[in-house]
Symmetry: C2
Subunit: 299 residues, 2 copies
DNA sequence: TGATTCGTTCTTTTTAAACGAACGATACCT
DNA sequence: AGGTATCGTTCGTTTAAAAAGAACGAATCA
């Protein structure tokens, strides 16, 4: 009881033009053949797709529904054939990476570095929210999603999260603030910029504060690492963030690392979809990334 | 030179399992038939999809590409058949409306009102950004998009914008601010909340200010009408917005309309896609909406 | 009213898909 | 190593599905 895509194609063509005879001519088949095939589709689906009103055809509600699906299906098919038609030559390898927009750019760059100097590779990098990216991953429009949290897969969405890196998290602030006692003393009377309440870093940090009976003054909750970096640099407040994010500023000396927070880590995950044939390049990339970036990598 | 979806289906099934023989058994065809059909697909596309390495199959890069498309195509097909299989009964009429999230809720409700009390109709209402909604419209996942700007269609995207309503725009503020001289005098020394610079209302308002040699103090630029309504109610600032948005507050008396701005209008558009068979219900809805809501409707 | 257009239905013809046996290559086992 | 089972390919043959073509009926137009 499977759908016959040949029938659906004929239906689609007739539905978009509205005329059986003209469509038959355009497709170089007889109208009787068309009529018959469409009738078979209706039988298979169990519902009328056209209302035959005299000698004109009108779509039924079911037909409208089927038409919308057919449109989506055959547009993709056309896209596919176009892709193969133009590029008669061999296809370059493509890796499509989605990155959660709030992720550290340094981390993204680190991950992509092995790919950047390869001439034979086409790299597509897309930013967005995690939900959006996961949707694209499920639709096979992405090969991997970089995120700072893991997701659990289920039957519907066979996602697989692989931890790539685990960065220590520190108290970061402008060097001009002068020397600061290490955590937890140094925090007294200071404003803090912290990650949003959803993030794992924030939750670990809150736990740590509770342990030390601290209730620091939260100035801002910021999810975007790039923004947090700017705020740490340009305000007099302290930020809770991984030092790797502000690597350059630490080297130049405009920002200082006032000490790592014990037990607080920012974790990075590569989310992929289980598939029979994985791209060997992607596989290699994930393996070498988790080896290179995993614990205690100096940056 | 058209794509054979039957071939593609076989390829898809083989590619997802990785084995030709097992797939042949599962599909109740001989392996020779499968092998032959896949070979034909390769010939049609002009490229190898599998690397035959001894007695194992591996996807080529082109194969990976084709597989992703096949996945998208046949998932939709399965969705379609599932839809018809469960709902053996006649399909209820469906109208899928997308509304730009920043649009006045009152306007949306007004538009949808004729549909709400119909038992025989299934209504789907989706919010989002204009770009996102237009994409869904093009993919036939929406029937109509409500927006506060018109879009021009092109060959790729045969959009059609139809103006539904044109609302006057006023200076709105908390009643407790006391009586206010009409525009432009009343604005002197007041903070203003205005729509964002992209909106047509804002552009018309800026033009009006220039005409009167006014440069009012902009407190905030807000695109979301619901948010603007809250700000007008809860702050001491004046807002530039259509009175219809705060209809309830005006009636209760918590907000006052300090006078319409000449020549400034908020316009509402219904964006649809040209198609052969339009839903008669949608057609009727658009017609009666533009009649009912067009100029000077009291609200 | 009669010619014409357009979709349907039937039978016959043509085309394409499926089968099954033989073959070749590879992996596995002892 | 050498035998054997497994897996994909390639044939010629068979079978099933799609197309053609003619006859029919209903609606449209002059």
């Amino acid at each position: 009881m499977k759908l016959n895509y040949h029938h659906l194609y004929y239906f689609w063509q007739v539905a978009r033009s509205g005329h059986l005879t003209r469509t038959a001519e355009a497709l170089h088949v007889s109208q009787s053949a068309l009529s018959h095939q469409i009738r078979q589709l209706e039988e298979r689906l169990g519902q009328k797709l056209f209302l035959r009103e005299g000698r004109t055809l009108r779509l039924t509600e079911a037909g409208r529904l089927a038409f919308d699906y057919a449109e989506a299906i055959f547009r993709q098919g056309e896209e596919l054939t176009a892709l193969f038609a133009e590029g008669g030559h061999a296809h370059r390898e493509v890796i499509r990476v989605g990155a959660v927009a709030t992720l550290s750019r340094n981390f993204q760059e680190e991950f992509l570095r092995p790919l950047l100097d390869r001439e034979d590779l086409e790299l597509s990098l897309q930013s967005g929210g995690l939900d959006d990216l996961l949707r694209r991953l499920s639709a096979h429009r992405l090969d991997v999603v970089l995120a700072n949290q893991s997701v659990r897969g289920d039957d519907q969405h066979p996602w697989r999260s692989q931890r790539l890196a685990r960065q220590p998290v520190s108290i970061i602030g402008a060097t001009r603030l002068g020397p600061l006692a290490p955590f937890p003393e140094g925090l007294a009377g200071r404003g803090l910029i912290v990650p949003g309440p959803e993030s794992s870093v924030r939750q670990a940090f809150d736990g740590l504060c509770e342990l030390h009976r601290l209730s620091p003054t939260i100035i801002a909750e910021v999810d975007d690492m790039a923004l947090m970096r700017l705020l740490a640099r340009d305000t007099g407040h302290l930020a809770v963030m991984p030092p790797v994010v502000v690597r350059d500023e630490l080297r130049v000396g405009s920002l200082s690392d006032f000490g790592a927070l014990p037990g607080v880590f920012e974790e990075f995950y590569a989310i992929t979809i289980r598939r029979r044939f994985e791209s060997p390049l992607l596989k290699r990339l994930l393996n070498q990334s988790s080896e290179a970036l995993l614990p205690g990598r100096r940056e």
